[in-house]
Subunit: 255 residues, 2 copies
Amino acid sequence: MAEDRRAWRLVLESVESDLLSGRLSPGDRLPPERTLAADLGVGRSSVREALRVLEVLGLVRTAVGSGPSSGAVIVSRPSGGMSALLRLQVAAHGFAVNDIVRTRLALEAAVVADLADAVNAASASVDLAAARDLLSAMEAPGLTDAEFLALDQRFHLALAEASGNQVIVATMAGLRDSIEHYVRVGARQLPSWADTSARLMREHRDILAAVESGDATAARATVRQHISGYYAETNLSPRTPELTGQHRDLGLTQP
Amino acid sequence: MAEDRRAWRLVLESVESDLLSGRLSPGDRLPPERTLAADLGVGRSSVREALRVLEVLGLVRTAVGSGPSSGAVIVSRPSGGMSALLRLQVAAHGFAVNDIVRTRLALEAAVVADLADAVNAASASVDLAAARDLLSAMEAPGLTDAEFLALDQRFHLALAEASGNQVIVATMAGLRDSIEHYVRVGARQLPSWADTSARLMREHRDILAAVESGDATAARATVRQHISGYYAETNLSPRTPELTGQHRDLGLTQP
DNA sequence: CAGACCACTGTGGTCAGACCACAGCATACC
DNA sequence: GGTATGCTGTGGTCTGACCACAGTGGTCTG
């Protein structure tokens, strides 16, 4: 193990251990950087490197100034870190856009299937009001493609939110953010945005209808068509690639 | 937008832009920290904060010393960052263990269904040799629970790897790592490890058999039983919770 | 007395400089 | 020719300093 004696890891582990033990909870403020440095016996710069990581990962929010709202506060904003991670990995060719789309498909299919099953079970009331509202909002005339796509994303997130799984919500948000650039470029290359958006709206309604009728199989199929259809049209088709298991050298030397 | 004028963000954006434009690729070395700082007109500590983020996210590997292998190298090791992110979010109560398990279930079900479909299509040869080898390894007598669980994880990752989706591979690895602690504790509380491991092995063989016979539905069902069964037995049951969409305050103030 | 004003204080954000540990490389020495 | 040794470039860390900013509380003025 060798314990990785770098100072900033010590800080990270200290915060993680405080979180696990309950000494720190969402909403709490971390000690000032200078205090933390003195307590842990490291330099302030090492503390700052650890805090930077926590900030990007979405665990703390930092603010300058004085008063109760200043300093580093534990926040738990999972989506931010997921977006950053996926976006950078896509940029570094660690993740293929195609894989991102296929993963989104897998998650969203599971979400709507779960929702449909929950509607069937009827033991718990499924709250689809947010999704319905967004669908109405998307019918407003004169929406730009960017506005439409933003509402589209919120619609899909509303479904994930209704399923009550925060991990899937955050992951789907990150997956979508990470290919935001490609989606926008793809939208501009469509033959007719009006036709495509009309089709997307139709499919949205079909998905919601399948969920509300408790038909998990139909919901799955509709989602599949919806997502793979759009990306196929924008030349980012989520075809299943090289199943032969070719291995790229990822530069991992760790044991 | 306000552009967030912090210096380390500038560094991060510079690296990301270099990645997107192809000026940087996996295997390349970043300039030395001091050079990067001078080029971007920021202090070395700001550069270091950005590099620290990239390192935790799994995008660079840093090494001291001189020579070609020293410095910060672009590596693309997605799983590392995913593990760190999920683990910390679980620690901070941003993610519930239950949601982690449900997400793993959704992804793995999609993986085996994809594999079964690919076997059916037969256009591409599905390479399940790695999974088969791991299954054999797990039959060795005298494995400790920790050794068995490690092989178990590698078996599930081998399936994901066979599906060719690196995003799912990395995500599943992260999901599993993030609840490693709970899995180990759960294993110790089982009434009989011998019985449980025997059942897990049987289920593993069933999963592989369903995939090899091209039966996507059976593969899905078997995986569901395998994963939810284990976590139910270790009191971490992946029941579908509060579908009423209760909202926690996550401390997000961003617009 | 009420209000506006302002200096103080504590916080993160940044930089510059210094030193160390380490790994490769070139040179000198045997 | 082979080995030993010092040089050099790299990240890792610490210290100290300064800035910008936002509350806080006191002070001054009407």
